[in-house]
């Protein structure tokens, strides 16, 4: 994991201060409250957070998937890509019209969704669904199109390709369908692949295979991947960079090593402590973060995590913490990193655990 060698890195997505809210019957929900995110070619960036933390809404902006009651309050998402003529172009995905977005979607940015069982059109054969995007974006037809479809299914590790192409979705297993969805996403060689909890709906054994597949494809195609999940075990397996999101904000970001071995935000501590681990035989019971995520209908004053934070300072209830740099690739938004704050270390239990993890070669989270 020496991906953060900044000289050779090619940035393809730069999100700055993205703020999104939803108008609902009960009031305005501030789902995303100023998110910054950078994605580089050939790297995987994970966004980790609980349900409702705004991680899906954030990446849906990149895909231009917006619901009717959504309000973009501000921010930008610059996407850098090479167009058909080979020219380098920079666009702001947030301010792009639907029509312009259509040209990018599927072609330069693609997405893999959570539930493969419902992601495919039940009334169409696999080949037709796979071919749709290719025909539209790359104008392939006939034999060339068919060969491309075969090639794609090969790429995602499906055997008996000809028969599978003629199948309908319900004739395939969940894992197989997710492979098809990945093949569809890759069909036009996108620069950026967004995976929204792609393994959550699958069996544990199949989860691992799908993750390996995504990693392998990344090695082959150098596609940049944004990986959304609430499962830290998955993050440990795939991510180069990790963003921990809480209540619509990224609270800590860094490389995988930073987050797993040197976490600084109390929320990250909580997440890591509450994660079941094969190594944690000594622990009597699993840690849980107390309380509920904040109701995003209410205005959040100070640090959103403060009410659930056993290490909260008085200032956490007053003023929002800025981002404190730990090193040049690791920062966290917590007052604990302020010079004036009392010296508070991560819980002892977690420290023991991290020490164990460092000892073992593989990060043994499941």
């Amino acid at each position: 994991m020496d991906a953060h060698n900044s000289s050779t890195r090619e940035r393809i997505l730069k999100m700055r201060d993205v703020r999104i809210s939803f108008n609902t019957a009960n009031g305005v929900v501030h789902a995303v409250r100023g998110v910054n995110l950078d994605v580089y070619r050939g790297e995987t960036v994970a966004i980790v957070g609980e349900s409702g933390s705004g991680k899906s809404v954030t990446v849906k902006q990149v895909m231009g998937i917006r619901s009717h009651n959504e309000v973009i309050e501000g921010g930008s998402a610059e996407f850098i890509y090479t167009d058909e003529k080979g020219e380098r172009r920079i666009v702001d995905l947030i301010s792009l019209s639907d029509g312009e977005m259509t040209k990018l979607k599927g072609n330069h940015i693609a997405m893999v969704f959570q539930d493969p069982l419902t992601s495919l059109d039940p009334t169409m054969t696999i080949e037709r669904q796979l071919a749709e995007g290719i025909t539209y974006h790359q104008h392939l037809v006939g034999k060339a199109l068919h060969e491309r479809c075969v090639e794609l299914l090969d790429l995602v590790g499906i055997t008996d390709v000809e028969a599978r192409l003629k199948s309908y979705p319900h004739q395939l297993s969940g894992g197989m369908r997710q492979r098809v969805v990945i093949a569809i996403a890759l069909s036009c060689n996108p620069e950026l692949l967004i995976c929204d909890e792609p393994t959550t709906a699958l069996d544990v054994t199949i989860q691992a295979r799908i993750l390996e597949l995504i990693l392998e494809i990344q090695r082959k195609t150098h596609v940049a991947v944004i990986f959304i999940t609430h499962n830290l075990g998955v993050v440990a397996k795939v991510a180069d960079y990790v963003n921990v999101m809480y209540a619509g904000k990224i609270v800590e970001a860094g490389t995988s090593e930073d987050i797993f071995f040197d976490p600084r935000h109390p929320y990250t501590w909580g997440l890591l402590s509450s994660m079941p681990s094969v190594l944690s035989k000594t622990e009597a019971r699993l840690y849980t973060i107390k309380g509920n995520p904040p109701n995003m209908l209410n205005e959040i004053v100070g640090d959103a995590f403060a009410p659930r934070n056993p290490f909260a300072l008085e200032i956490d209830f007053e003023k929002e913490p800025p981002c404190f740099d730990v090193n040049n690739h690791h920062w966290a938004a917590t007052w604990l990193l302020d010079g004036r704050a009392p010296k508070i270390e991560m819980p002892e239990q977690l420290r023991v655990r991290i020490a164990q993890l460092k000892g073992s070669e593989d990060i043994g989270y499941e």
Binding site: I65, N107, M111, M124, E132, Y136, H170
Partner: protein, 327 residues
Amino acid sequence: MAQAVMKKQRGQSSAMGHYVAERLAIAVVTLFLILFILFMLLSLMPGSPFNNEEKLSPDQIAALRAHYGLDKPVLERFFLYVWNMLHGDFGVSYNIQTNMPIARMVGPRIVTTLGIGFAAGVVGAIAGFLLGVLAALKQRSGWDTAATIIAVLGVSLPSFVFALGLSYFVGFKLGWFPILFSASDPIRSAVLPVIALSMFPLASVERYTRSEIVSILDSDFMLLAKSKGLPGGLLITHHVIRNTLISVLTVFVPMLVSLMSGSLVMEKLFSIPGLGSLYITAIQSNDYNVVLAISFIYSVIFILSMLLVDILYVVVDPRIRIAGGSD
């Protein structure tokens, strides 16, 4: 799409044939049971079928009963009836047109009734489908509101409300179309009843189409299709319409059946010489052979339509096609 379906069908034609045969067998058995129930029910009917009974002497009545075979036990009569029916003989009318074979009375009327019912169903379904698509694609717009109001009215109001309104304003006041059916001008005189009758299928198809499309637009597979970057038009023709048509097709046929009561009302209001108006006359004049025959014909239409839906499902929807073929 059509090619794929055809290919699949050929591969599974034997399973499909088996399925159809099985369904057909069930339908025949059910029809037999229904005929039995109807026959028994009518044999319980009080009084005698002869309308001028008071003037007849007991001997004459006995003679009449013997003539029509009514003196025999019920079960024997039932099997005789079934036997004759299989040879196209539904018995004769007692009162409406004495001794007229019912098959001859009913034949041309079936054509009229089915014709008007089918026309209303098709007109309503097409208009309802288009309106539903429009409402769903332009959600929360004026179109949507208008379509919703039409749907609520069409589903709630009985067809004779529309029929009376149309015949009074369009037929009587404006004089555009005849108020009463005339055999010399069947097309023009069918316009008002067809429109009035089509309001229910229009409204229910509109409702169904709209909610179907709304849920399809919300579905995961639409999200994936959208993420392929297909333009809106392609998304709608490839994914939305296909999926909607499948489910609308399967509610369409049972809905045609529900036009039955409506068509009865239309035939009475517009004096259309169809099955329904004959049915009403037969009921009012106690002509029970005719009542039995038409009740049975209605049941046949009903059951055949249900059968058609079951088969349509299998042909049209790949998911059920496999399931249906495998058992």
